[in-house]
């Protein structure tokens, strides 16, 4: 432990040295430029099939980034451990399944799309659908969040987990809305006025930029919210509920907003991924997915937006690109299994190692780090107290 502790500050100061070389807006422009240039440069460097796979993985990654940022509001900012985030992914994906496919055969409605006029079902423009999906899912975030408000930390986790299991079961068994296990497919391609219908999965650059735009919207909302009155209230609730309430923070409203906003981003990304994958199927919505997203937040750094994005990119690239590429490795060294089959075991291992060695994540939020190491700091303070002359003030970390 002592080795890890002494290394951590060094790493951090090196990191902030690099960060301080340029102002924040310059960094943002650089990253934005990289993200825009990326689909034109990197896949071509890899060339052929691997390049296409990489771009496909990147589009999925954009969806996962949105979800990780959304879950970060609930878990990272407000400190409510939500193990049922997959429910919101499911709801968002089903919203685009309902509003952008032939699922409801008896009705016909067509709104700013390119589909043939005779096609049954609801066909609404993608941009409208994602907004509806976010709003609808946010509403469900409040509905599922409300019963958990009074619960202790670990009970809250279990109740959210149970909701995360119930929602897909309801979808699975309620054939009218979901087609049961077959799921809803095909889903209308994304249609943008002025651009036309994007022709993924053949040409992925267009959908990549749609995803990137959605990530930027999410990022903007996330940062503005974090720095707002509500964001400060979330952090206060996370650090000490009782103290926050005493300071006049309305606990119920603060927590419900966290659930609503977090869930809304889940639905936002769910609709995007549903449209991109062209199918909405209950098999996609399992507990492992909630943990997958949670793992991104923990590895990157709970509560820190940059860390969460880093974690999301790292894990989803690992899941969608690196592991499939390395799939032949176990075979080559004489072991008979698929590397992709053990992906959740690998994430579980990351969770475990991260939580034991560096619970604040790779790019920690400073406050969160203090909270997580509060026990150690207090121990250290207790050790030092013998050396401090009487009357000299002792600085101690808050519990």
């Amino acid at each position: 432990m002592s080795g890890a502790k002494s290394r951590a500050p060094a790493l951090r100061s090196g990191f902030s040295n690099v960060r301080n070389m340029l102002p924040r807006w310059a960094w943002m422009l650089i990253f934005l430029g990289l993200a825009i240039a990326y689909p034109y440069v990197v896949p071509d460097l890899l060339g052929g099939g691997a390049g296409d796979d990489l771009l496909d993985a990147s589009v999925n990654t954009l969806g996962y980034i949105i979800m990780a940022l959304g879950l970060n509001i609930v878990v990272g900012f407000a400190g409510l451990l939500d193990l049922g985030y997959v429910a919101f992914y499911a709801i968002g994906a089903f919203v685009i399944g309902w509003l952008g496919s032939g699922q409801f055969e008896k009705v016909h409605l067509d709104f700013i799309t390119d589909v043939p006029k005779a096609l049954p079902g609801l066909h609404i423009n993608f941009v409208i659908v994602v907004i509806v999906a976010a709003a609808f899912t946010g509403l469900w975030g409040v509905i599922l969040g409300a019963p958990t408000l009074r619960l202790r930390g670990d009970y809250l986790a279990i109740v959210t987990l149970a909701f995360g299991e119930i929602v897909p079961r309801v979808f699975e068994n309620w054939e009218f809305v979901s087609n049961g296990r077959q799921g809803i497919t095909p889903i209308d391609r994304v249609y943008l006025p002025g651009v036309g219908e994007l022709n993924y999965p053949i040409e992925l650059t267009g959908i990549y930029f749609v995803g990137l735009a959605m990530v930027l919207v999410t990022l903007f909302v996330n940062i503005r919210l974090r720095d707002s009155r509500l964001g400060r209230a979330w952090i206060a609730v996370r650090e000490d509920e009782v103290a926050a309430a005493a300071m006049g923070v309305n606990l119920v409203r603060t927590k419900l907003w966290a659930y609503a906003v977090g869930a809304a981003f889940g639905g936002f990304a769910g609709a995007f991924l549903g449209a991109y994958r062209n199918t909405v199927n209950v098999d996609q919505f399992e507990f492992g997915f909630s943990v997958f997203i949670l793992c991104m937040i923990i590895i990157g750094g709970m509560g820190n937006v940059a860390g969460v994005i880093l974690g999301a990119v790292a894990l989803s690239m690992l899941d969608r690109f690196i592991l499939p590429q390395l799939n032949s490795v176990p075979d080559a060294i004489g072991l008979n299994f698929d590397l992709t089959a053990v992906n959740f075991g690998i994430f579980g291992f990351f969770l475990l190692v991260m939580m034991v060695l560096r619970p604040e994540g790779f790019i920690p939020s400073t406050r969160r780090k203090l909270e997580l190491h509060a026990g150690e700091v207090e121990d250290a303070a207790a050790d030092r107290s013998a050396e401090v002359a009487p009357g000299e003030p002792l600085y101690e970390a808050r519990h």
Partner: protein, 344 residues
């Protein structure tokens, strides 16, 4: 002074009845639900209750592991369901290795089941102790949610170990002739697997209660559960007591795994996740930390499950159990029998 002598006015009868009803709402709701189906279809419901109780013994054994661990370190040991799954796998693997099949002689089968029971219990018990050492002990002083997250990580690792071991559902040799009817009561056929489940579980429960209630180690466990700091001051080795708790939880999970394998006839690598959640529901239902409550909760959940299977179809059962979990946690977080965890 005089005011104290004035008898307190009794609350009106209606309110007293209402509050009594509210206090026991879980019992009343459950009772009414079971009674409804008993009146409607007596025979099939009685059959469901029988199946539920024998199946519930498995949940009870797993639930004890949750409740013991929660009672002592206030951690939901997420990996517990997967320890149970590995218990099934070890048992089936040993039978295959030893070449014991349904065709072996009775003596071989009895010895095979008894021996494998002991070995798989020891395997899961020591696995559980190792998990505690690796994943939970380093985080003893961390915020409460940190070990919960490592527990989830551990659960995924174990599940993948299971997935590598048996990627597909595997059938279990029917050593006990599980579907053969032993006797019939009230038109309900009691089959061998029912008797087997209860016959294995009952001695284990008695042994557990005796161990916790009568021995020095059991006393140490109870003391640590009440107040670890005070227990340490009294000379109890808290770390070792916690490890012992995990050992006992693991032993019971191993036994549950073996019963499950013979009872259901198939094992899957993801059986542990659902079983874990069901058993956790049972533990919460009985009041977490409360051993007898966990057993009762397991049996009740078993009954609820089999009635739900019968009445609403199997595909809804999971949702019903989870809905019960949510209702209990939200409205009666201390369960049917009251929880036994340290205050504050």
């Amino acid at each position: 002074m005089e005011a104290a002598a004035v008898p307190q006015p009794k609350p009106p009868v209606v309110r007293r009845v209402a509050s009594a009803v509210w206090q026991n709402i879980l019992w009343i709701g459950l009772g009414a639900w079971v009674l409804f189906y008993l009146v409607q279809e007596p025979t099939s419901t009685l059959d469901d209750i029988k199946t539920g109780i024998s199946n519930g013994t498995i949940w009870a054994l797993i639930a004890l592991g949750y409740t013991l661990v929660y009672g002592i370190i206030e951690l939901i040991n997420f990996a517990h369901g997967d320890v149970f799954m590995l218990g099934s796998f070890v048992a089936v693997g040993l039978w295959t290795w030893l070449g014991i099949t349904a065709g072996s002689s009775v003596i071989v089968i009895i010895l095979g089941i008894a021996g494998v029971l002991v070995v798989s219990m020891l395997a899961t018990g020591s696995l559980n102790v190792m998990i505690e050492r690796v994943a939970y002990r380093p985080l003893r002083n961390a915020p409460k949610l940190a070990p919960l997250i490592t527990a989830i990580g551990m659960s995924f690792i174990l599940q993948n170990v299971g997935a590598l071991w048996h990627p597909l559902p595997t059938s279990v040799p029917d050593l006990i002739g599980s579907q053969r009817t032993l006797f019939t009561v009230l038109d309900v056929d009691v089959v061998r697997s029912d008797v087997f489940a209860i016959a294995v579980t009952l001695p284990l429960l008695i042994a557990l209660l005796t161990f916790i209630g009568q021995t020095r180690y059991g006393k140490a466990m109870r003391a640590t559960a009440q107040d670890p700091d005070a227990a340490r001051l009294m000379g109890i080795n808290v770390d070792r007591t916690i490890a012992l708790t995990f050992l006992i939880g693991g032993l019971l999970a191993g036994a549950a795994g073996l019963i499950y394998a013979l009872y259901n006839g198939t094992i899957r690598f993801n059986q542990g996740f659902t079983a874990g959640l069901i058993a956790f529901t049972a533990a919460v239902m009985g009041g977490i930390g409360n051993l007898k409550g966990a057993v009762a909760g397991g049996l009740i959940i078993g009954v609820v499950q089999s009635i739900s299977d019968d009445q609403y179809g199997q595909q809804w059962t999971e949702a019903v159990v989870f809905a019960i979990l949510i209702l209990i946690m939200v409205f009666r977080p201390d369960g049917l029998f009251g929880e036994e965890v340290r205050p504050g």
